[in-house]
């Protein structure tokens, strides 16, 4: 049996960040990827917050990364069946490098990242699937890939949200529908200039638009749109539990199709050519959804560890993956120096994560899934906002009422108590 220092399962952002870091430290790392190349099977909504992870890489590391556009404009749109209200936010600071976030396409980005890891000395094997773990005396001692045994001092599982490795290691309970959402999106190609015109952008700038309200038809979730260089990433994220249980039943692709037909969206994507359709399961349980992070001879990073955070206006996963991959590599380096790959030795990984933004942010927003799981955010508030604005902007034959009265007409005493209640609940985030 061939033996390696580290076998990394999955060439996503966590696996590649770990492979790069280990290779730089001179530790032999073998990354096994099931897709044809890194990124072939990886899916994102479309946005990477780069600032939190810059510190883990050389200053010029990202200079040649195939980013799409920096996000310089943020738009939030609340939708009801009849209307939509948008807020557009631009900060001069967002226009200048270092940009805090970029739109990305994983098939390009991960391929580039894979080349960086390989260039640093990591071994990368694609088109190969890990099927099981090898155990020796209760410790993980390698993997079985394509019927072949590959020994390892430590296995780093970066095999995504439905981690087969975690399942095989019996380190994870089967997931519950309420702890997951499904994201599905289309890549719609449009000329560069058209994108910039439609979103009021200067060349090279980018926009991120979030949609909430009636588009999910009462289900927990929302829509998103990111500008790429010559395409748009348009999609939705919806709770799996709600998709299963809410009546009347509706299928995810139908939700997306109806969303696309909304005039507010149709105007943005019109004349575009559908280039790609993809879907992905997203861990949504937040802090309490974090799985076992390490065991004897094994570590978990990225989605496989449940490191993902939805706080309504931002859904973050990729930078957690990158950071956890780097920190796992650092923990492995320490274990390597001690020549001790026991759970106790690898537990330093947990401390590294706790001292980093990854677990700090997840802890800060640990009530977010609970607070956000409030149907009023997806129905009541968008409707309230839409109705008030409609009254303010509508002109009929009747004399116009005063502004305060117009607002008061839509807000009863019990409405206000309800809002205060939600605000009180929201204090935890």
């Amino acid at each position: 049996m061939e033996k390696f220092d580290v076998v990394i399962v999955g060439a996503g952002l966590a696996g590649l960040a770990a492979a790069y870091t280990l290779a730089k430290d001179g530790i032999e790392a073998l990354v096994i990827e099931r897709g044809d190349y890194p990124g072939a099977k990886n899916v994102t909504g479309g946005r990477l917050y780069l600032n939190p992870v810059r510190q883990y890489f050389p200053a010029d590391f990202w200079d040649n990364a195939p980013f799409e556009r920096p996000v310089t404009t943020e738009i939030v749109t609340m939708m009801t069946q009849e209307n939509a209200a948008s807020m557009r936010f631009q900060a001069l600071e967002f226009n200048n490098p270092p940009y805090q976030s970029y739109s990305v396409q994983r098939s390009k980005f991960d391929r580039w990242f894979g080349n960086q890891a390989a260039g640093a000395g990591a071994m990368l094997v694609s088109k190969s699937r890990v099927d099981d773990l090898i155990w020796e005396n209760g410790k993980v001692a390698g993997v079985i890939a394509g019927g072949e045994e590959l020994g390892a001092n430590v296995v780093l599982a970066c095999d995504g949200v439905l981690s087969l490795v975690a399942e095989k290691a019996k380190l994870r309970e089967p997931g519950k529908p309420e702890d997951f959402a499904v994201g599905f999106k289309e890549i719609i190609e449009l000329p560069e200039k058209t994108i910039e015109d439609r979103f009021n952008l200067l060349p090279g700038q980018g926009a991120a638009q979030l949609f909430m309200g009636s588009l999910t038809q009462g289900r927990f979730g929302g829509g998103f749109l990111y500008t790429n260089k010559t395409s748009l990433s348009l999609g939705m994220v919806v709770s799996i539990r709600d998709l299963m249980e809410k009546q009347p039943p509706i299928e995810a692709p139908v939700l997306l199709e109806e969303f696309k037909q909304r005039p507010e969206v149709a105007a943005l994507i019109g004349d575009g050519e559908l280039a790609e359709y993809s879907a992905h399961v997203i861990p949504e349980a937040g802090y309490k959804g974090i799985g076992r992070l390490y065991g004897d001879g094994i570590l978990f990073a990225g989605d496989a560890a449940g490191l993902s955070l939805n706080i309504g206006l931002t859904v973050r996963g990729m930078e957690f993956a990158i950071a956890s991959g780097v920190l796992a590599a650092r923990a492995i380096k320490q274990a390597f120096d001690r020549n001790d790959y026991s759970a106790a030795s690898l537990s330093v990984y947990q401390q590294l994560l706790q001292n980093s933004f990854v677990l700090k942010d997840m802890q800060t927003f640990k009530e977010a899934p609970h607070v956000l799981d409030n149907p009023r955010f997806f129905t009541y508030y968008p409707e309230l906002m839409g109705n008030i604005l409609k009254d303010l902007y509508s002109f009929g034959q009747e004399p116009k009422e005063g502004l305060v009265r117009t607002v008061r007409n839509r807000l009863s005493f019990s409405d206000i108590t309800g809002i205060l209640k939600d605000a009180w609940g929201g204090r935890k985030i």
């Binding site: 061939e2 073998l30 096994i32 044809d36 190349y37 098939s107 390009k108 391929r111 071994m123 094997v125 088109k127 190969s128 890939a145 394509g146 019927g147 072949e148 590959l150 050519e273 280039a275």
Partner: protein, 259 residues
């Protein structure tokens, strides 16, 4: 025995998308791979060696990406690779490929059997084998669906339109295989890792002494477009029973069912 398997570097066609308006293929960012039937040819070579002993050399001509692409062939079990690398070679027409491959084979010198796929995954001209046979003055057996080696003789079953033909020929010879001859193996992880360390000889066009006149293109590509797809775009929106009946009627009137 010494076997040479000739393979071609092609775009992974499954990943090519067609631009709807112009019907042009979009080749940007498409990974390169070894042609499908070429893999069957190489697989057959590896199987023969496993049975009879000897060496398989994988031979290919293409752009510089070939050094990376060929690792797949080495991982599948080829012992070494001999590559001719030149930026002009990726889109080379069959006549040019045949000259380049034949000259490379001559440079290698010793061989008993040259294996090729019946056609490449991209152009499928099926010409390279016969042209090489002509240049090298070797017997050619094409459309081979099974192959046996006995001493200096091979016995091949040729799959023809309306019959099977069994052919025996003395080596050295050129054999073109069909995809049904075998199932090409998916290389194991350790084989993929070892592939990078296997011997690889990279030659230039000068080194195999190709005359520029032989590189001249004679074929002009007039157009390379996907066939037009005429969709009826009928959607049956009624309840399931009515929609199913309507769909059935529509398919029937188009002559797809119930004839």
């Amino acid at each position: 025995m010494n076997i040479i398997a000739c393979v071609k570097q092609v775009f992974d066609l499954q990943q090519v998308r067609i631009k709807k308006e112009t019907r042009e293929p979009i080749m940007e960012n498409i990974p390169l791979t070894i042609g499908d039937i070429d893999k069957n040819a190489l697989e057959e070579g590896v199987r023969l060696i496993e049975q009879h002993g000897g060496k398989v050399t994988v031979v290919s001509a293409g752009s510089e990406d070939l050094e990376e692409t060929i690792k797949e062939g080495l991982a599948m079990g080829a012992d070494e690779a001999v590559l001719v690398i030149d930026s002009s070679l990726d889109s080379a027409e069959s006549a040019v490929s045949a000259v380049v491959l034949a000259k490379t084979v001559k440079k290698i010198g010793e061989f008993d059997l040259i294996l090729l796929g019946e056609g490449s995954s991209d152009n499928y001209s099926g010409q390279v084998g016969p042209r090489m046979a002509e240049i090298l003055d070797l017997p050619l057996v094409s459309f081979v669906k099974s192959l046996k080696v006995d001493g200096h003789r091979i016995q091949a079953v040729r799959s023809l339109d309306d019959c099977m033909e069994v052919v025996e020929v003395d080596m050295p010879a050129i054999v073109m295989v069909m995809s049904e001859i075998n199932e090409a193996r998916i290389p194991a992880v350790t084989q993929i890792l070892k592939a990078g360390r296997k011997p690889k000889q990279v030659l230039s066009l000068d080194e195999i002494e190709v005359d520029p006149a032989e590189m001249e293109t004679k074929v002009e590509t007039l157009s390379n477009l996907a066939p037009e797809q005429d969709r009826k775009q009928v959607i049956f929106k009624e309840d399931a029973d009515t929609a199913a009946a309507d769909l059935f009627n529509a398919l029937q009137s188009e002559g797809f069912i119930g004839r």
